[in-house]
Symmetry: none
């Protein structure tokens, strides 16, 4: 088989084709006043891609399942999340370059605002600036609860990663994050063991104690006094979610598909999922995973990466953030910014371009929703259909019809002439 691949390579045919997967996080939406943000935006680049593509809609996980960003990305890479997903923490840790050891528990964290230590009024502490978060993080860097060590790492903005280390601890514990939408108030959740083991009970108890201790430290921290004076949200608690074990026996993307792969992303989670499946992560200056990210720098890093890698994953976060904030106008504007930034990609030769979203983030819900997302696949061999607009409604009339995110990589391999054969 290897010999055959080398042989085909020597023919210099399909092997030269590169793949670019563009994920605009949470770009798909529901209509507000009869139009989705994609339908409302002026987006000549995306429409040009749709025009030259086979289009469709794709269920990230399945009908009626609201995808997480992590599970949706595993599916986009062709990894069944029901098999390969063991919690978000590990992706955040990998994305932040944190080394994990066997037995560790990795947890995704938010700086948040709590009233009286228990009522969460803002899950992101007013989207706290990185500098403030960094200063606060220094005060809670390493805390020991009984015989369990808690290592806290700030990453970007309100985000952080907690690593719990100790004898006989377990990732089978529930979140302390109440996950309410922006603007809503919810009680801090108590972490509970998710199985009957002593290790899970000990870990949940220690995490609850750690959370109280962190609140005691942060609420009197000078940074929060300064924030109060500046009428900014207090960052006086840490919310935890997605406790997970270090990566276990995940097949590498390159071994699975025979494609060397790289990731261009700002957000820790996306870099983390990419590392989880064995992609290289390209560092990009100014890629912040916020709407003020340097899109030009990311596109330019993508163009460079396409010279070296068979498969490049470009992740753009902004749409998801403004959707979680319920800001439809900002979403339309950010889609238009993405569209301008993507223009240089239209000139690419010998490249299969897949344009889609990981999931729908509905501005009206300020949350992810279960709706399928629009998708376009452009490149050599594609059966171009009549769809000429890249939006959720137009793409539903396309030749791909409805697929699942798990179908995307198999379709790509088929177009590259690398799909497996069954029969003769």
């Amino acid at each position: 088989m290897l010999l055959k691949r080398l042989l085909f390579k020597s023919l210099g045919e399909k092997e030269a084709m590169r793949v670019l997967l563009i994920i605009c996080d949470g770009m798909a939406d529901r209509p507000v006043d009869r139009k989705t943000p994609l339908q409302r935006a002026r987006k000549p680049t995306m429409d040009a891609i749709a025009e030259d593509s086979i289009c469709g809609i794709s269920d990230p996980i399945g009908v009626g399942i609201v995808p997480g960003s992590d599970t949706a990305h595993l599916a986009l890479f062709g990894y069944d999340p029901y098999k390969y997903y063991h919690g978000r923490g590990v992706f955040e840790a990998l994305g932040a370059g944190i080394k994990l050891y066997e037995g560790d528990v990795a947890i995704r964290c938010n700086f948040a605002t709590a009233e009286a230590g228990t009522s969460i009024t803002d899950r992101r502490a007013g989207r706290i600036e990185s500098a403030d978060a960094e200063a606060l993080a220094a005060a809670i860097k390493q805390i020991k609860i009984r015989d369990v060590d808690f290592f806290f790492n700030h990453t970007v903005g309100h985000r952080g990663v907690l690593v719990i280390r100790g004898a006989a601890i377990s990732p089978r514990i529930s979140d302390t994050d109440p996950h309410q939408p922006t603007g809503a108030v919810a009680p801090l959740m108590k972490s509970r063991p998710l199985d009957a083991t002593e290790a899970a009970r000990r870990t949940a108890d220690a995490l609850n104690d750690w959370t109280r201790k962190v609140n005691e430290i942060l609420k009197v921290h000078p940074v929060n006094k300064k924030r109060k004076q500046a009428k900014k949200q207090q960052a006086n608690i840490i919310l935890c979610r997605g406790a997970s074990p270090p990566p276990v026996g995940i097949p590498k993307f390159e071994e699975k598909y025979g494609l060397s792969a790289a990731c261009v992303a700002g957000g820790m989670l996306y870099k983390g999922v990419a590392k989880y499946v064995g992609m290289d992560v390209i560092p990009v200056k100014g890629a912040t995973a916020t709407p003020d990210t340097n899109l030009q720098a990311k596109v330019s890093a993508t163009l460079d990466a396409l010279k070296k890698y068979d498969f490049v994953f470009l992740h753009i976060k902004g749409c998801d953030m403004v959707s979680h904030d319920g800001d439809a106008a900002a979403k339309v504007k950010f889609i238009e910014r993405i569209d301008k930034a993507l223009k240089p990609l239209l000139g690419l030769k010998d490249t299969l371009i897949i344009l889609t979203s990981d999931h729908t983030t509905a501005v009206s819900l300020k949350a992810h929703s279960a709706d399928p997302v629009s998708i376009a696949i452009m490149g050599d061999g594609v059966r171009v259909d009549r769809v000429s607009k890249f939006d959720e409604v137009s793409c539903a009339e396309g030749g791909l019809q409805k697929i699942n995110h798990l179908d995307i990589l198999p379709i790509v391999l088929g177009l590259l002439g690398k799909a497996p054969m069954f029969g003769t």
Copy 2:
């Protein structure tokens, strides 16, 4: 059940409806210069069928799986290939009318061209003529390697069937055929045991020795000397693929569906799959499974068969062959020939016509591809949609949407009023 069938028969209703399944092998394709051969061809008959049909696209096996002709046909007949497929050889043997005994191993063979006995430069020996192949076959008809007997049977053109017979042999051996596309060079593969049994090891070893012996005999054969003088490719080796056991407990088509069934085909494989599921095979003079086949004779045999059988499978091979040779113009021309030949079928009454392909054979790849194929179903009770062209892009807009080949027979049974009921 029988009583009910007789009763319906006496009402003279649905029982009178016949089914004609037309498979244009490898007709579906990808665009070359923005159009697929089906989109380019003038094909008023197929378009008239699409116009009066419910259309759609169908995945032969599944998304991203490249179908073999054998697995695709099992699926077309409603037999899950993952359950009923045990290698191609048995279909070729059955198709050629070769009797198999328990313990035999049946293998599909190609006359091919080898340089220095090991480098395969043409997998089909320049598509050797049947007369030459027949003469060469006589020299290798029966060869004994240690205590294992090898019976070689030439069938049509470059094709043949090998039956291995002996105590304790096994079909669990890999191919010697390197399966490279036309124009590429690849090394002869060594057959390897596919499981740890002594029988598989012995069989693979014996097959490798047989292949060497055959090469020694064929390379000095007068037919090859003549071919050299005529500047034709040497047919100096036999490539093997699809080692398989004799048929095992396959439910008969008529028992499974209550439909008597017949096959009109030129190619051994297709006759073989039909026999495998218990269809009668109608002999047709001039049906060669090549582009010079007598299509009129096949259509006329089909019309006759429809008078005697409930279900007739008409197989037309030519498109697949010219696609494997990468000849887009010949493909368009052959589609137009098929279209003319099918015209008499438009007049059929009380007949459900299904027009589709077993799989896509991409001219650009000179190989099968994983893409879905276009399908049209015409006849009484069908919800006719707005599609009026029978091609891959138009049919994707049809009312069937995307189905799987395994859905076709259940849909047919439904239209015949023979589908099973669940609930009351």
